[in-house]
């Protein structure tokens, strides 16, 4: 070894230092790039020599967070111990310049697009203003794509405009307009938060498109692969900024490179634990320094691995994954020992490798929730649970791989789906699902709905007619005679109950005061509407808008109530918190608890008033239940098999019940189940009628169907229009 080290008196800038700096530093340390100062000339480097010695010794620079030797990665930004020693020696020796004729050539960097002219160039329509100082900013931007056909993406090249502030970016796609309800509602482009599609579990028809971090350069995927980008999608850009001390404006430009055709194979991201730890029971006590979660997965088929990635929030310290092959040998996949949320990189292996069927992958994440963790977002430390906010935690290792044989794809997908289902069940049982849904509901109030059009569909989900004009609608409810729709309509942030006539689409505004309104429900005779206003007040008013509204009941402060039904015998059904109530409209008007606990919500009376159908997660995941009301000994019967939430409606004869299926945490599909009511309550096997394809599936609050069960009311995405 000693012989390889330069003789102590021979370290010069030209021969020894410049090659290290040019290979490892100038990509960023040159004018116009993210790093603060250039490191090109002898003077540049000499001036910063003390800093360079310090930051190379501590390995803060070049920034690289994976442990050397745990996976061999392409573009590893890492100096060898010898290079670090050489720099220190050079400084010790007074930084001689040496023979400038022996200087290496300065690397050439492409001007403009690194990968050549993109097939599609996107630009943020409006710049986002960053303040001079404050905590780090996370912001999601929605850029319309207007794709006319499905595409496959080989690379995304990213060019932020606030180069010194932009730290990393994640790319994803989501159904066009699906973010409209939150995009720009605070008066600035985009929306806040660190969780979005590609990161948050359970958001259908969306996916990740890679990412960028300071110092990274865009690369094409291997030729046989590409990422899907369906038509009808918006491009989502989640950015993380460090504020620089002066105001900056971000107006990113994104270049997308398409493949000519669909790829032969689909890259699969295997995440461990499933859904970023949704079902891992993350519950980190304050002060705990060594909280760990672990998960394992045994590969059902041979896979070829391309890369790895890690994700967690601020409390995570250590993230590690290994593979134990069937022959007992161990392959080290990735190990990050000092996790830094600011560096969420995609790590690409220098060479792909095969993990044979039967290989067990183990992932471990360790969290430090003590005050000694300088990244702890809470001071003093606070209990941390699974969630999307910066003070919540989540995390996992992702492996990007394909099955070696194409026909093995379903077998791998099944194992992953089973893992996700198990995680959802565990997350349901330990309260994670409930907290998650409540958080989502709070973040995306029903008051802000995307633009949609009220649409009537048949039992096959085929549109029969649209009603009225496009608008920001939510919570549609069909009148008992099936001729009108009550709905919440949002105009400039004010939410009112409207009634629209199906025959001509004409609308009548029922409510008038500026308080927020939710959950309109029809009286059995169709003459009145009940609704919530002022968060916790129940009102009723004539459905033609005439007369005055009547305050029926005021629920105690706390979780807001939602009305879900109006029975033939004059009771309203509403739920609040985890309890479903019956509220008699005559007499003392004192609500009675029908069922409480286990995420109870969305109750609906059977047409004869003797049964209640409702949603609850008492089994660990949300399901639909039917319970006899007149028989105190009667127990709730689970009538859904797979996860289901809301959208509950009885056919007029009480023999069929409709409800919404749940995929992940998103509604997917209207289901129907046959019921036999009587002393022996019996349910058949649920069947899917159709999968609604809209921006806003039937709400769990509303009368979704007509009494004969032949017509359903949905809020569908408006026809695509150039934006």
């Amino acid at each position: 070894m000693a012989a390889l080290l330069p003789a102590a008196d021979k370290v010069t800038f030209s021969e020894n230092i410049a090659p290290i700096v040019y290979d490892n530093c100038v990509t960023c340390h040159r004018p116009g790039e993210a790093a603060p100062f250039p490191l090109i000339s002898y003077e540049d480097v000499k001036k910063r020599s003390a800093l360079i010695v310090t930051v190379t010794k501590s390995r803060y620079m070049p920034p690289w967070h994976a442990t050397h030797g745990y996976g061999e990665f392409a573009d590893e930004r890492r100096l060898t111990d010898q290079q670090i020693a050489t720099i220190a020696d050079w400084v010790q020796q007074g930084m001689p310049q040496g023979d400038s004729a022996k200087m290496p050539k300065l690397p050439q960097f492409a001007e403009g697009w690194h990968l050549g002219k993109p097939d599609l160039i996107l630009e943020m329509p409006v710049g986002f203003e960053l303040p001079a100082s404050g905590p780090d900013v996370f912001r999601n931007f929605v850029i319309p794509l207007n794709l006319k056909e499905d595409k496959w993406v080989r690379a995304v090249e990213f060019r932020p405009s606030a180069r010194k502030a932009a730290h990393h970016a994640l790319f994803a796609y989501a159904p066009a307009g699906s973010m409209a309800r939150i995009d720009g509602v605070d008066g600035k482009p985009g929306f806040g938060g660190m969780g979005t599609v590609g990161i948050a579990p359970g958001q259908g028809n969306s996916g990740g498109l890679g990412g960028w971090a300071v110092g990274g350069t865009a690369e094409f995927m291997p030729a046989e692969l590409a990422m899907p980008l369906p038509k009808g999608s918006d491009f989502l850009l989640q950015m993380h900024f460090h504020l620089t001390g002066k105001p900056e404006t971000e107006k990113s430009v994104v270049g997308i490179y398409f493949a000519d055709k669909a790829p032969e194979r689909n890259m699969t991201a295997v995440g461990l634990p499933s859904l970023f730890g949704f079902g891992a029971g993350i519950d980190i006590p304050p002060g705990e320094k060594n909280y760990t979660i672990q998960d394992s997965l045994t590969l059902p088929v041979d896979v070829k691995v391309y890369g790895a990635a890690a994700h967690a929030h601020y409390l995570a310290k250590e993230i590690k994954a290994t593979a134990t092959l069937p022959d007992g040998s161990i392959k080290l996949l990735i190990w990050i020992q000092d996790w830094d949320f600011n560096w969420q990189e995609q790590y690409t292996y220098k060479q792909t490798f095969v993990l044979p069927k039967g290989t067990r992958i183990d992932a471990m994440l360790r969290y430090d929730n003590s005050a000694d963790n300088p990244r702890n977002p809470s001071n003093p430390p606070k209990r941390a649970l699974f969630g999307e906010e910066s003070f919540d935690e989540m995390g996992g290792v992702g492996l990007n791989l394909i099955t070696v044989n194409k026909e093995d794809e379903p077998a791998l997908q099944k194992v992953l789906a089973d893992g996700a289902q198990a995680a959802i069940r565990r997350g349901g049982a330990d309260g994670t699902a409930k907290r998650y849904l409540e958080h989502q509901a709070a973040r995306r109030p029903a008051a802000i709905a995307p633009r949609s059009i009220i649409t009537l569909v048949d039992r096959q989900g085929k549109a029969v007619r649209t009603v009225g004009e496009q608008g920001s609608y939510s919570q549609p409810a069909l009148s008992p005679d099936g001729t009108r729709v009550a709905v919440i309509r949002n105009d400039q942030g004010k939410t009112h109950v409207w009634v629209l006539d199906l025959s001509d689409g004409k609308g009548t505004q029922i409510t008038s005061d500026p308080a927020p309104h939710t959950s309109p429900v029809w009286s059995p005779d169709g003459k009145q509407i009940a609704y919530i206003s002022n968060q916790n007040e129940v009102y009723r008013k004539a459905s033609d808008g005439s007369g005055q509204e009547e305050l029926v009941y005021k629920h105690p402060a706390g979780p807001a109530p939602f009305i879900t039904d109006w029975s033939v015998d004059g009771q309203l059904c509403f739920w609040s918190g985890d309890a479903v109530y019956a509220l008699p409209l005559e007499g003392d008007r004192k609500p009675v608890v029908l069922f409480s606990g286990a995420g109870a919500r969305g109750g609906r009376f059977s047409p004869d008033g003797r049964y209640l159908a409702f949603s609850s997660n008492q089994s660990g995941t949300f399901a639909t239940y039917v319970m006899p009301l007149k028989n105190p000994a009667g127990k709730p019967l689970q009538v859904s098999k797979d996860p289901a939430l809301g959208g509950i409606f009885w056919r007029g004869d009480g023999k069929e019940l409709f409800f919404m299926g749940l995929a992940g945490l998103a509604p997917n599909g209207v289901l129907a189940v046959d019921l036999t009511l009587g002393p022996e309550l019996q349910a058949g096997i649920p069947r899917q009628l159709f999968r609604p394809t809209g921006v806003n599936s039937p709400a769990q609050l509303s009368n979704i169907a007509s009494r004969d069960g032949e017509r359903f009311v949905l809020l569908a995405a408006p026809p695509a229009s150039p934006r």
Binding site: P36, K46, R48, A50, P63, G245, S378, S390
Partner: protein, 168 residues
């Protein structure tokens, strides 16, 4: 330690009879720049209490027009500046990093030297929450006539290039 020299080296900076804070900064150091708003807040808050602030530029070879451009870019107004081209003030103050703060009391004694607060736990490792406001604590103590609890802390940022490297 007596600190009389600074009045000679930079006469305009240190008003006699006042508590002075010198902020050692550089225009191309990201950590130094990220503190620009906090430095302005500090000078506003403590200016009302009779403290005099100065910005001491430690960039190698920076000229007056670049300083003016930098001041404008980061919104600095009304704070006297000194270009410490030969590192005389840094050397006398024993400041080694930008940003670093030095507090000199009315008698000319250095009462505090070090970081502004503990936002950075290490280079590249910002805290989510600041838990120690060392400079404010030092100024409060000096103004109250009390001993400074931590008279010396380690500033994190970019090293001030020592004068012996400048000339070579």
């Amino acid at each position: 330690m007596r600190f009389g020299y600074i009045f000679v080296f930079a006469g305009l900076a240190c008003a006699a009879g006042k508590t002075n804070v010198l902020f050692f900064i550089s225009s191309d150091c990201p950590i130094s720049n990220s503190y620009a708003p906090e430095i302005q807040h500090l000078c506003g808050d403590y200016g009302k209490k009779g403290v005099s602030c100065s910005l001491v530029y430690e960039d190698v070879g920076i000229d007056e027009s670049s300083v003016q451009k930098h001041l404008k870019e980061y919104g600095y107004t009304g704070i006297p500046i000194i270009i410490d081209g030969r590192r005389k003030i840094a050397t006398r103050s024993r400041a080694t990093v930008t940003p670093e703060a030095v507090v000199i009391d009315t008698k000319g004694d250095i009462r505090y030297r070090g970081r502004i607060d503990n936002f950075y736990a290490a280079l590249g490792k910002p805290r989510q929450q600041i838990t120690a406001h060392d400079l404010r604590d030092a100024l409060d103590a000096v103004l109250a006539g009390k001993p400074v609890p931590n008279p010396e802390t380690k500033a994190l940022g970019c090293y001030i290039v020592p004068p012996d490297i400048l000339g070579k």
